[in-house]
């Protein structure tokens, strides 16, 4: 009887202890009912610091299940999977590599670097291992989609959003296969899209640079709430406008010189000077690391207004100048102004037509167009404010190519090249630069290769 009482007392004591311990556990871990400030301490802290799964991004039940099943062995499993991925990459086992990559991101869904690295790996390393351009594009797309999924799982990640924009801008726009990639972006080579866009990769059916611009704008918006550590802020926030400049340039490259291109330049100029140029950047100035708010479009009066002392005026002016140089502000402003001009647009058209006529061996027409282009660029480059453009490689190479076509037509027609001709000074200036002349010679040779 005595024993029974003792056992019963002990059990009751345990029960009391359990109930007592449950009180702080419930107080700490009570789940939230969805309204702000509800739930236990942990739920409120999670909500305050946006650390809940749903706050971070889309919830993936399989990812949560996998992490739960592994108990505390996630790190070990992830390490083994990374080793596996590396081995599969070396052995060119792409399907298996992609499958293991999926497992890694399920285990580490909020580790941004994992998304970044694997997105890059698919889009750059894997795509380069395929010989056919449509195959390469498939893997670029796989990388891009992967990064986009990374953004969905990590909605607050400025970095991942930047990488999406970067892939669209650079991988599709600047790589060796850029011409085909940009075409595929609008007309996917996969037969299942019937010549249209892949809605997962290009949902809005935009040009790659405009899609990049849109992604960059979102990244800039996110950057206001969560800082990034990829680029200096002034360079980071210049990205949307730079994408618009790239878009306008590529329109010219594609032989479009009408109102559409001029408007694209005008928009780029507005983005650069009115939007980006008016943004405030808090920058350190001087030895004491004092911080000032600067704008790229600040004039002397604006600087004086924001300065507290005459000494600050000098400091701020120096900082503005230094940042303008860093982001190449003057050049893009001048280029934008120049290209938004109708005369420039016509000059580009003349050179483009000259090369097209030349390829068709319509030599007289080509000669006339080239000469018209030379005259127009002579006038543009002599204009006040546009002098710096003579140092801009793309523009100069375009002019030199036009001149080379014009001179070659003279040679073919057994005519001597006139002693004096428009832009002669530019040829003389650039002859000292062998790399420019090599690029021009290469472009000249390729005139009959490119379609």
């Amino acid at each position: 009887m005595n024993n029974m009482t003792t056992a019963q007392t002990r059990k009751l004591t345990y029960l009391g202890g359990i109930v007592l311990l449950l009180i702080p556990i419930i107080w700490l871990g009570l789940p939230s009912d969805g309204t702000p400030g509800s739930g236990g301490t942990l739920a409120r802290l999670r909500s305050n610091y946006d650390l809940g799964e749903s706050d971070l991004g889309n919830v993936d039940p399989s990812s949560a299940a996998m992490n739960l099943v592994l108990l505390g062995m996630r790190g070990v499993a992830v390490n083994l999977l990374w080793i596996e991925v590396d081995k599969q990459k070396d052995m060119k086992r792409w399907a298996e590599m992609q499958a293991v990559t999926e497992s890694i991101v399920r285990l580490q869904p909020h580790y941004e670097k994992v998304w970044d690295f694997n997105g890059w790996n698919l889009a750059s390393n894997t795509s380069a291992e395929w010989d056919a351009v449509p195959d390469r594009y498939y893997w670029v797309k796989a990388g891009g989609k992967f990064l986009k999924r990374g953004v969905e799982r990590n909605r607050k990640s400025t970095h991942l959003q930047y990488h999406v924009a970067n892939l669209l801008q650079k991988k599709l726009g600047i790589s060796d296969e850029a011409k085909q990639y940009r075409k595929f972006f609008l007309h996917d080579p996969d037969p299942k899209f019937n010549g249209g866009v892949d809605p997962e990769f290009n949902p809005d059916g935009l040009d790659s640079y405009l899609a990049a611009k849109k992604a960059a704008e979102i990244a800039c918006e996110m950057e206001k709430f969560r800082e990034q550590h990829i680029l200096d802020r002034s360079l980071f926030r210049a990205m949307p406008a730079r994408c618009q400049f790239d878009y306008a340039m590529v329109l010219q490259k594609d032989g479009k010189f009408g109102e559409e291109t001029r408007e694209a330049w005008q928009e780029a100029l507005n983005e650069w000077t009115q939007k980006y140029g008016k943004e405030y950047f808090k920058v350190p100035v001087g030895v004491g690391e004092e911080f000032f708010d600067i704008q790229m479009e600040m004039d002397r009066d604006d600087i004086k207004q924001s300065a507290k002392s005459p000494d600050d005026v000098v400091k701020i002016a120096r900082a503005v100048e230094s940042y303008r140089r860093m982001v190449n502000y003057y050049y893009w402003r001048t280029r934008g102004n120049c290209e938004a001009d109708r005369e420039t647009s016509e000059a580009h058209r003349d050179f483009y037509e000259a090369t097209q006529f030349y390829r068709k061996q319509e030599l007289e027409k080509a000669k006339a167009s080239a000469f018209a282009g030379m005259q127009k660029f002579e006038s543009i480059l002599r204009k006040k404010g546009y002098e710096d453009l003579k140092d801009e490689d793309t523009l100069v190479e375009e002019c030199l190519l036009g001149i080379m076509v014009w001179q070659d037509i003279h040679r073919i027609s057994s005519e001597s090249v006139p002693e004096e001709f428009p832009l002669k000074w530019l040829v003389q200036l650039r002859q000292e630069n062998p790399s420019t002349m090599q690029n021009v010679a290469r472009s000249f040779k390729r005139l009959f290769l490119d379609d």
């Binding site: 299940a65 996998m66 052995m91 086992r93 792409w94 291992e129 395929w130 085909q180």
Partner: protein, 552 residues
């Protein structure tokens, strides 16, 4: 294909570079005979030490007992013991492994990418997942059941009841092996059937019609290279790939990859008289060039037995083709070789197959300063495909043979070890039996491994000596080398005892859309299983015979 299936050398051969090589069967006889001799001598010695003058009589008695046991094996008793073993395993809830398998199949789709868009690559992942899941679930169950079966009987003294019956100890071992193999087989057959249905259901009709669920039957040849001057060479150029599986040939030079296919006759052609040559070459561009098309290559058939001039064999070069990197492409070549406008045409079989039945095909890269990479399995003659289930069934057979092997090894180990130790021993043998560990042991035994043997590597580690630095030349180091070489010889013996399990993994063939070849995979696995069955069962029998069953 990313692997190179090599047939098992059964008897012997005279290799042009490696010299004389013994095959698997003579080596088995040497090792098994050697081990039998050691066991015989050790038993003889121990009997004479323990029984002194009566040793001879005792040994003769034991030997005749053994021979009598061997001669009086009863299939009925073995069958009864196997049935009891099966029931015992069933009662131990061995079949509960199905629950885990069902869970895996239910949720596998979550972890294997987008099911809306199933590509050929994804089919590969599905097939290897099913076969891997089946083997990883079946083998541990069999391993644990087998390792704990006999030790548990000894512990519970139920073995006493069995051994006092007319059942021989050899029959007990055989009954156990058969019984556990049977339960493993039941588990395997059910799982693999469900797995097959799962694969077929997961893969959409569109993918099936594209022929992605396939079972190609390849005929591989022997590959050799010609360098850029046209001289024979072991390998092509290394373009800096980490994985040295493929060798590259340079375009627009005399560099060639030459395949020699054997036993070729009209049966290699399809009904329309076409030869199907499937290739999967890698491209390496030293400059980008024209990106709108892939690199070009052509095939050239050669027959030196029909010269068209002095030192000029009969040749025929096909049209140029674009490579499809990382993706096999089948070229149909009609037996009537000739181009439009050519007066003379050739017959592929009559004009290009040599008297010994071999066909020589040369591959060259056409683009200047570009490179094509190839390995032996990158070009093969594709015979008519088999249905997918045949390849799948062969891969399941591979797992079945592995189940039998595990049952044999674990039952043998359990006759002289306790359950947990027998489990660990068998598990270690399985781990060491992998391809990588055999490769490591081959390097160690063959002296290719940098850093020396056991003592030498310890010395180098302690003295921080680089593996490429020569050791001092003095008697101490000579002794050390001698000791290491003895240990290495022992390792050679161990290596022969550790099973080579690479042949059993047939899922690689099936997931890559190939039939499982008999000579390269099925026959070697069968031989390895048989090779272990006989000595292991005898070892288990002797262990059980000399073991004191009272000792738990």
């Amino acid at each position: 294909m990313s692997f190179d299936p090599q047939p098992l050398l059964l008897w012997y051969r005279n290799h042009p570079t490696k010299g004389f090589e013994l095959g698997a069967i003579p080596i088995w006889f040497i090792v098994a005979g050697g081990l039998a001799l050691i066991v015989f001598l050790v038993s003889l010695l121990s009997v004479f030490v323990n029984h002194r003058g009566a040793g001879r009589k005792v040994f003769t008695g034991e030997l005749s007992g053994c021979l009598s046991d061997l001669g009086s094996l009863s299939p009925r008793r073995i069958g009864a013991l196997a049935k009891l073993t099966f029931l015992e395993a069933y009662r131990r809830k061995a079949l509960s492994v199905f629950v885990v398998f069902a869970l895996l199949l239910m949720f596998a789709g979550w972890f294997m990418g987008d099911t809306k868009e199933i590509t050929g690559d994804q089919v590969k992942v599905y097939i290897s997942f099913v076969l891997r899941a089946v083997s990883w679930l079946t083998l541990p169950v069999v391993l644990v059941l087998c390792s704990f079966g006999i030790p548990e009987d000894i512990r519970l003294r139920s073995l006493h009841t069995v051994v006092t019956k007319p059942a021989r100890r050899l029959e007990i071992v055989l009954g156990r092996v058969i019984g556990f193999s049977l339960i493993g087989t039941v588990v395997l057959v059910v799982m693999s059937s469900v797995g097959y249905v799962w694969i077929v259901r997961e893969i959409t009709t569109t993918v099936k019609t594209q022929g992605l669920l396939r079972c190609r039957v390849p005929v591989y040849g022997e590959l050799s290279f010609l360098d850029r001057q046209g001289a024979p060479s072991d390998k092509g150029i290394n373009t800096g790939d980490i994985w040295e599986f493929r060798s590259y040939i340079e375009g627009a030079t005399a560099a060639r990859a030459r395949w020699e296919f054997h036993n070729i006759d009209e049966s290699a052609l399809d009904a329309e008289g076409n030869l199907h040559l499937e290739s999967q070459f890698a491209a390496f561009r030293s400059y980008k060039g024209d990106m709108t098309r892939q690199l070009l290559f052509d095939f050239k058939f050669i027959n030196p037995e029909k010269p068209v001039g002095p030192n000029q064999p009969l040749t025929f070069t096909t049209e140029a083709r674009q490579i499809q990197e990382n993706r096999g492409v089948t070229s149909k070549i009609n037996r009537k070789l000739g181009r439009d406008g050519d007066e003379k045409t050739y017959d592929l079989i009559k004009d290009f197959v040599k008297k010994d039945g071999s066909l020589t095909v040369e591959v060259s890269c056409i683009d200047r300063e570009q490179y094509l990479g190839m390995a032996r399995p990158d070009l093969f003659i594709r015979k008519p495909d088999q249905p997918f289930w045949i390849g799948y069934a062969k891969a399941v057979l591979g797992i079945e043979l592995m189940v039998i092997l595990v049952a044999v090894m674990a039952v043998t180990a359990s006759t002289f070890l306790k359950g947990p130790i027998a489990t660990v021993l068998t598990f270690c043998l399985l781990v060491l039996g992998g391809e990588e560990s055999h490769k490591f042991m081959d390097e160690l035994v063959g002296g290719k491994f940098k850093g020396g043997g056991f003592l030498e590597s310890i010395y180098r580690i302690l003295t921080h000596m680089n593996p490429t630095t020569d050791l001092p030349d003095n008697p101490a180091f000579v002794g050390m080398h001698l000791f290491d070489s003895v240990l290495t010889s022992f390792l050679w013996l161990c290596k022969q005892i550790i099973p080579r399990l690479q042949y059993f993994n047939m899922s690689e063939y099936v997931s890559n859309g190939f039939d499982v070849p008999w000579n390269e995979s099925v026959v070697p696995s069968l031989l390895v299983t048989l090779g272990y069955l006989v000595p292991c069962v005898l070892l288990g029998y002797f262990a059980l015979r000399i073991r004191e069953l009272e000792s738990k």
